[in-house]
């Protein structure tokens, strides 16, 4: 063979050319597959979404939702208008459940001694266990579960306990509602649960009672409260006394931060001044005394229209006192029902479980959908005792810390793939219906118990069998209606007529201990987003900014400047927190409005075993928590100032610097203080906006916004917005189209806080449009500021020119296009954006287009209720109104005529289509 003479250089040239040419056919589009059904389901219209009523559970309590399904894939959750708590609204956590369902970090199969096992083996393990139990009547078998409000699960557990009388079920919730029941047991002699009616009271005193935030029923409470406030022309008053920030405190007419040990004396003094019980000492501090006197006066005046609402984590004595006081006031705003949680009587505490594990009497422990290795009180040394149990079975959605210490792990089924049921805050039952076959090899809790009962019925049969017995009559019809409505009508609990049996003077006598605020007190509270840590694997919730600090992916040790000074620490200092030999790390975050001598941390962060790749190390407050002191830790010491910690927050400046970003007025007929106004709004270089039959606009009522973040989450779910991770947010690259800005105003000790949701303003004279070199952002005849991704080349000029900073740029390919499972739940009506393009709020143009097409097909005008943006739909308080401003009868047109209506940064003459209604603060200062 003759040798080919070719230089190295020549070879590289030709090889390069060959390679380039081999790529050429890639320029040609390839045909795509299209796959029809084998047999199309009846009444399905391919391409049109279907909605199914089901329920999501938080703290075991059900919240009714409608799940949107595209061709059999659940894609989004929204509120169920028929559900008594939701009334169409939804909270951030329930919305994020859709991500939990498809979470790539979810457990995809069973584990036995660290090895993957198939479904058959999982079933076999449970069956073997079930077969071995009856021999010794279940001796040595224990179950650890969280509170649940599922009647059919109760029936299954009861059946198990009847067959195996020596089996013990333990109940442990990191955020327990036991104090609520202890309090009612003290006040009324029986366990009852208060249910409030916020359409009635004219004066509310909240004692850390976060009825706008984390209380079961909060969605309904927020709606009723804000609606009543609007209806009464802002005559209702909300006073709040608390040690940390709650959403309720933030929205109160008057709020006073006090040390946790001062709350009970203050409450006693208020009640004494209101004439509700015997005399108590007068608080020494004048601010506190003034607040108490004012509150007492309000309560006295309101009489039956008064309401005192205590936080669910507060001391039972304090809560009981509030119940008695409400009863003495004759308050019409509260009624009592029997506990919605089931199995309260049949279960024992985690302390007893740990004792039993330690003395070796537990042979098999089934941990049901909880993570005690991480969440159990640190004084119990749960992990050590747990490892003594020979057979440790963990059943849960994630392979968490407890799964890692178990001999067997079984994957749990999510509510979207399992049958079940659950009670709402008022006892109304919802059937949980699945939308899809289980994604992984999982069984539902009901099916698990059925297997333990050696029955092996399906979840569907179990739920139907349970309710067939209850329903009576024509079951099929009843069943269909219950599924369709998402609630079982007539299941709301009856009010109890129990009268108070407690004498409040007992509490008075017991609370004479002098208040000593010399040492530092640490208050723990559940996190607004990841709750007790169970949602830590959910990047949507991790990246939802904390309402007050806008912190993401993190918690901190929050304290006031004065406390920080007295402890000689600074914002950002990493410290060791020590109490009675226990220790954890945290970084100091200086936040105004926290009681002096107090700091707080939220639970759920710093989990040692997190699959979530975007997570960063954080601080674990559980390490300090004990079973006797779950919430308030006294005598805490700080030590060891470490390297400064960099907090990642989506807002870096919380002061308005005297600008009128948020208008505050005294009455609803007032206009705000207009500092920033365009000199002559009629002059503009822009062409006039055409007047079409539809011109879209949005009005946000700052008085109704409680800052819960539901709108942010709704926007994220609707518009395929990605979470980018802590590192990217740290570079200001968060992608949320809608942000809630928070501003503090007033004194450092006790400021007023305002929340302001900021979507795209859709300016009529939009500064972003004129600077785009490729016309990727333009104006529609209906007033939308359009962003066209396929046209965008990523110059970012528009973002630089936007005075509201609402545009978001894809610095990287943030969308995970490789993980198959994440492709399943993206909204097919919204483009998934790639790297290098700008994006922003579109006013949910896909919904406008859908509604227009529907209306045009039927040759009619678009009805007002047909177009609702995702944020508007999710908002529990109705703070966001959207619609056609050309229709004089529409809500949005009326709101724009409200004297309180103002534009943000009006001086720029951008003529925003999104406007705000000034915050009404009848007893505050106008500004």
């Amino acid at each position: 063979m003759s040798q080919i003479k070719i230089s190295r250089r020549q070879f590289l040239k030709r090889a390069g050319l060959l390679f380039a040419m081999s790529q050429l056919p890639a320029c040609k589009p390839r045909p795509e597959e299209i796959i029809p059904y084998v047999k199309m389901p009846e009444r399905l219209v391919p391409g049109n979404p279907k909605f199914y009523a089901t329920a999501m559970t938080l703290r075991g309590i059900a919240r009714g939702v409608l799940a949107e399904s595209h061709m059999g894939r659940p894609t989004r959750l929204e509120g169920n208008p028929q559900h008594p708590e939701s009334l169409g609204a939804i909270d951030p956590v329930s919305q994020a459940e859709i991500y939990t369902f498809y979470n790539p970090a979810r457990s995809k199969g069973g584990l036995e001694k660290g090895k993957e096992i198939v479904r058959e083996r999982q079933i076999q393990i449970i069956k073997t266990l079930a077969a071995s139990l009856p021999e010794r009547q279940g001796e040595g078998f224990r179950i650890l579960m969280e509170s649940s409000a599922s009647p059919s699960l109760e029936a299954e557990v009861r059946k198990l306990l009847r067959a195996l009388p020596r089996t013990v079920v333990h109940r442990f919730d990191p955020v327990s509602r036991d104090p609520v029941y202890e309090a009612t047991a003290r006040a009324f002699g029986q366990e009852l649960q208060p249910v409030y009616d916020f359409t009635r009271p004219s004066f509310i005193l909240s004692v850390s009672g976060d009825f706008l935030g984390d209380m079961p029923g909060a969605l309904r409470y927020s709606r009723d409260y804000t609606e009543q406030r609007r209806r009464s022309s802002y005559a209702t008053r909300l006073y709040s006394i608390e040690c940390v920030w709650t959403l309720t405190g933030a929205h109160a007419d008057k709020r006073l931060p006090v040390h946790p040990d001062q709350i009970l004396p203050a409450l006693l003094y208020i009640l004494y001044r209101a004439g509700l019980h015997a005399e108590v000492p007068v608080p020494a501090e004048s601010a506190l005394r003034g607040f108490c006197d004012e509150t007492a006066g309000g309560l006295k005046l309101a009489g039956a229209g008064g309401l005192i609402i205590a936080g669910e984590m507060e001391d039972p004595a304090l809560q009981a006192l509030c119940h008695v006081a409400n009863s003495r006031l004759g308050s019409t705003a509260v009624r009592y029902i029997s506990p919605v949680e089931v199995l309260r009587g049949e279960t024992r505490s985690i302390n007893e479980l740990v004792e039993a594990m330690r003395d070796g009497s537990v042979r098999t422990l089934l941990v049901l959908d909880s993570n005690p290795v991480y969440t159990a009180p640190s004084d119990l040394a749960f992990e050590e005792a747990f490892l003594r149990v020979p057979d440790r079975i963990h059943y849960g959605l994630f392979r968490d810390e407890t799964a890692a210490r178990s001999t067997v792990h079984l994957p749990a089924a999510h509510n979207l793939e399992a049958w079940g049921d659950g009670k709402a805050y008022d006892g109304t039952v919802s059937i949980v219906q699945p939308l899809i076959q289980p994604l992984f090899d999982s069984v539902s809790p009901l099916e698990l118990f059925s297997l333990l009962n050696s029955e092996a019925k399906s979840g569907y049969e179990l739920v139907r069998d349970y309710w067939r017995y209850k329903a009576g009559g024509e079951f099929e019809k009843w069943w269909r209606k219950s599924l369709e409505d998402g609630i079982i009508s007539g299941t709301a609990s009856q009010s109890s007529s129990a009268a108070p049996v407690m004498n409040p003077d007992e509490v008075v006598a017991a609370s004479q201990a002098p208040f000593n605020a010399s040492s530092f007190t640490l208050v723990l509270c559940p996190d607004h987003r990841i709750w007790d840590g169970r949602y830590a694997e959910n990047p949507w919730l991790q990246e939802l900014p904390e309402p007050f600090t806008k912190l993401v992916w993190d918690t901190a040790l929050f304290m006031s400047q004065k406390t920080a000074d007295s402890l000689q620490v600074q914002h950002g200092d990493q410290v060791e927190i020590r109490q009675r030999g226990r220790m954890t790390q945290a970084a100091v975050f200086v936040l105004p409005g926290i009681a002096d001598g107090t700091g707080f941390m939220t639970l759920g962060y710093g989990r040692p075993l997190l699959m979530q790749s975007k997570a960063a190390p954080s601080f674990n407050a559980y390490l300090l928590r004990t079973s006797s002191e779950p919430w308030v830790l006294r005598g805490v010491e700080l030590a060891g100032r470490g390297a400064p910690y960099e907090f990642v927050s989506t807002q870096n400046h919380f002061n308005m610097q005297g600008r009128d970003i948020i208008h505050v007025v005294k009455g609803e007929d007032k206009t705000g203080r207009r500092l920033e106004q365009s000199k002559d709004p009629s002059i503009s270089l822009y062409p006039p906006q055409p007047q079409e039959p539809y011109e879209w606009g949005m009005v946000i009522d700052l008085s109704s916004c409680i800052g819960c973040g539901s709108c942010v989450m709704a926007c994220q779910a609707e518009n395929n917005i990605v979470s980018v991770g802590k590192d990217q947010v740290g570079r200001s690259r968060e992608m949320h189209w809608l942000r809630i800005a928070s501003y503090f105003k007033g004194s450092e000790q006790n400021p007023q806080v305002y929340f302001q949701p900021i979507p795209c303003m859709h300016c009529e004279t939009a500064p972003c449009e004129v600077v785009c070199p490729v016309a990727a952002t333009s104006h529609s005849v209906e007033g939308l500021n359009e962003q066209i991704y396929n046209r965008c080349v990523g110059t970012r000029y528009c973002s630089n020119n936007c005075p509201y900073k609402v545009r978001r740029f894809n610095f990287y390919n943030y969308v995970d296009g490789d993980t198959e499972i994440l492709k399943m739940f993206r909204n097919p009506d919204v483009t998934v954006r790639a790297r290098g393009v700008m994006e922003k709020c579109t006013y949910c143009v896909q919904r406008i287009n859908e509604a227009r097409i529907r209306a045009q097909r039927e040759n009619r005008r678009i009805r007002e209720e047909e177009v609702r943006t995702a944020c508007q739909q999710a908002c529990p308080t109705g703070a966001i109104v959207f619609g056609n401003i050309m229709d004089r009868e529409s809500e949005v047109a009326k709101a724009r005529k409200n004297p309180r209506n103002y534009s943000l940064l009006a001086g720029l003459n951008t003529r925003p289509r999104t406007t705000y209604l000034a915050y009404v603060s009848p007893i505050g200062e106008e500004s």
Binding site: C27, P29, P36, K39, P46, Y789, T831, I853, R857
Partner: protein, 218 residues
Amino acid sequence: MKQLFPEGADTIFQLVCIAIIFGLIAFFPVRSFIENSSYMTYVGVFQNQDVPFSHAHHVGDMKFDCRYCHTSAEKSHFAGIPSGNVCFGCHSQLWNQAELLAPVRNSLETGTPLVWWRVNNLPDYVYFNHSIHVSKGMGCATCHGRVDLMPLTRKTKAWHMMDCLDCHRHPEEFIRPKDKVYDPWWKPPANQHEEGLKLLKEYNVRTDGILNCTTCHR
């Protein structure tokens, strides 16, 4: 002294200049030619399918209505691809042993769906809605061509943005009476412009808003 440039340097330089100028002039037409060639666009290219379904036979000879198989054209953005049981509505009786239909029978027996290759495909950032077009008097054949003459289905338009804009700018040139929407044999009348304007008014077609970017891109 030796000359710096060889003798033909001037000629070469002139030729290179001319080549660059002509190259620049030719670039756009050539690019456009390639882009619009059926090699790139697949226009007029018959797409082989597992089941060689003939629209020519079903629509042309048998006079099937489009909606018999594409059931959701009036209700959804997606016109729908018939599931196997739609085929077997007739073919359980007719040609039920035909070799050509083996994949359909197979699919129904095993429960594995048929796989078709898309003929008309729009990019993912374009949101086309069938239902609004057919309900406002846009005929299937306007975009899909005379499927009644296609033994195997092929594209008749390249689906560049211009193909959409032509009609969105001048819908009166393409609109037809509603009862002729599913009629592949309909021919525009001589006075289509006047008739079209009349129909636009009658059907209440939105003419200015359909040129907004967000009509199709969102």
